[in-house]
Point group: C2
């Protein structure tokens, strides 16, 4: 998979014909029809993605893509840039939020340096795939060249392909990058056709003044670059981020092999948004695990046609909301596989007249 | 614990002084302040319940209380009465929804016959504590005598006490009883001061005509019995159910020993509602795991001062939504115990000026 266009061409819609067969099985389990609500929806969708009425517990992997953002210099985040590299070490040591929640959800965690502004030397466990030491500041120049953006997309696609080759059949993209909500708001504004003010939030906790400055920076940047929504890779290059590009490639590669992807918030959903802009059928493989507190996430979910499973006021990123979503996906698979049917349990399934 | 009044007297408020200490620990973990949202709230509340800043993964048990309802004869449910007993066998065989979701959440499942209209003989695994073979039809006479209601409350309290004696430190009440949403709507109407139409829903799936009949039955029953909201046990006796009374006792006993209870929907929350009406401080030990689709559940949550963690459109009961909630509680405990601090991970916690 060394060609983005080939991956895009390989993304086929999920098999909708399997849905009714899966639902018929669910309707035969010892519960009122539809009584397990969205767990039934998840089980049905997984069947459609696989094109098969048989489900098994997924082998799941979280991949945290880390990169720095030139736009952080424009004062759009509360935390200093060096936190990105520090958090990479935290992920590798197993002490970050995503490590804890992935363990709970029985998922592996991998960490990819796709553009951190730090030379890691040979750090055990880190997947070294640095395209550059952070993007340029898109407040004054394009974040990346088109070649750099494409290279970062392919980093994500290759990591996903390797994980699937190793037997992983459910992928979760995570993110780490101080300043990345600004890039995501810019991309969402362009691809969803919304004004920056409609899709820009407080990130790690900006106050009103900080939020106003962030919106101003984004408005000026979009006026400067005029990114074209019909050219998603061009949008990534102009105002995107390296980890966002990698997540886009990761989502595309997963969708091209009919593999479900759980998303968890504003950053990973931005990567998925670019993937869906490039290959609309990729939407069929996305499960939004958690609603972001960033206001732009609603526009993204609408674009993707997805409703988040959870809303626990999380705003950490890293894939944490998706890891929690994975516990619900596992519950859905268990329900599908392990519940008794009316017949096997000797329970009267026929309703009396209502 | 052979006296309801003793149990009520033993219910003390959670220790609010521990909350800020727990939050200080949470604020020191490698994430922006408050970024794990409701997981932090759950961890903090668990500390307040225990009165201790140390948490460990709970030993959790689900107890499904099963009973029949005389009011089912009034045509308020879609399913025939024999389904209650059939489902008891399904619980014991491990094939029901709650069995599957409890396994996923690492919780035991116990089943209590507190009033099923079926003679089980000696069924292995079933806790036999039948007060009577179902309530009387409260459309024409009180569902129970006060003595029967008190006996059912004590069944729940004793089971909870036994489980806590065995080391269980998190309890989940589940329910099974064809017709029970009608009893719950009646109780909720009285205790929350709402008209029956405001708190009566479709149960396992009534159509408009069935719903109108159910509301009519409840209005007539409340006019017949005039239950007094200041006498919660009297309300239980007049229009309640045996499993609802048992859940009330189970919640009271848990709260009296500072043990968290996860609730999951209209039936279990009705039991908790009666418990809170008897001992207001019991509220401090309740976590609402899942929002019910029954409209009366909102009034209940308001009464209890609780916001549900999940809303996955479940309407099965049995404790299923609470079992899913338990996976989030486990995630909250893991976060509290396992995440690195800024200092231990060498991450810069000081924010730059916003």
């Amino acid at each position: 998979m060394d060609n983005i266009e080939q991956i895009i061409a390989a993304v086929a819609p999920a098999d909708q014909s399997v849905g009714p067969l899966a639902q018929a099985h669910l309707d035969n389990l010892t519960k009122p029809t539809g009584a397990l609500g969205r767990l039934e929806e998840v089980a049905r969708r997984l069947c459609e993605m696989k094109g098969d009425t048989h489900l098994s517990q997924p082998q799941a992997a979280v991949t945290v893509f880390a990169a720095d953002h030139g736009v952080a210099a424009a004062g759009v985040s509360l935390y200093p840039r060096e936190v990105t590299a520090q958090m990479v070490f935290n992920f590798l040591a197993g002490g970050a939020g995503i490590n804890v929640l992935a363990r709970q959800a029985q998922a592996q965690v991998h960490v990819v340096d796709v553009g951190v502004d730090y030379e890691f030397e040979a750090v055990p466990g880190l997947i070294a795939a640095k395209v550059m030491r952070g993007t340029r500041n898109f407040a004054v120049e394009p974040a990346m060249t088109l070649a750099e953006a494409r290279q970062a997309v392919l980093v994500g696609a290759r990591v996903a392909a390797q994980l699937m080759d190793q037997g992983m059949d459910l992928l979760i993209p995570g993110d780490m990058g101080i300043g990345n909500t600004a890039a995501c708001a810019a991309i969402t504004s362009v691809l969803c056709g919304r004004a920056p003010a409609e899709v820009t939030g407080r990130g790690t906790g900006l106050d009103d003044k900080g939020l106003a400055r962030k919106i101003q920076v984004l408005e000026a940047a979009l006026a400067l670059h005029h990114p074209d929504p019909a050219d998603p890779l061009g949008v990534l290059a102009a105002v995107g981020g390296l980890e966002i590009a990698a997540i886009c490639g990761y989502c595309l590669a997963a969708a091209s092999r009919r593999t479900p992807v759980i998303l968890d918030g504003f950053i990973s959903t931005t990567g998925a948004l670019v993937a869906a802009a490039l290959a609309p059928a990729a939407r069929d493989y996305f499960i939004v695990g958690h609603a972001s507190q960033e206001i732009g996430h609603q526009a993204q979910c609408q674009f993707l046609g997805q409703r988040p499973l959870l809303d626990l006021d999380l705003r950490l990123g890293e894939g944490t909301g998706a890891a929690l979503g994975l516990t619900l996906v596992r519950a859905a698979v268990a329900i599908y596989n392990e519940m008794a049917t009316f017949e096997s349990a000797g329970v009267t399934g026929d309703k009396v007249e209502g």
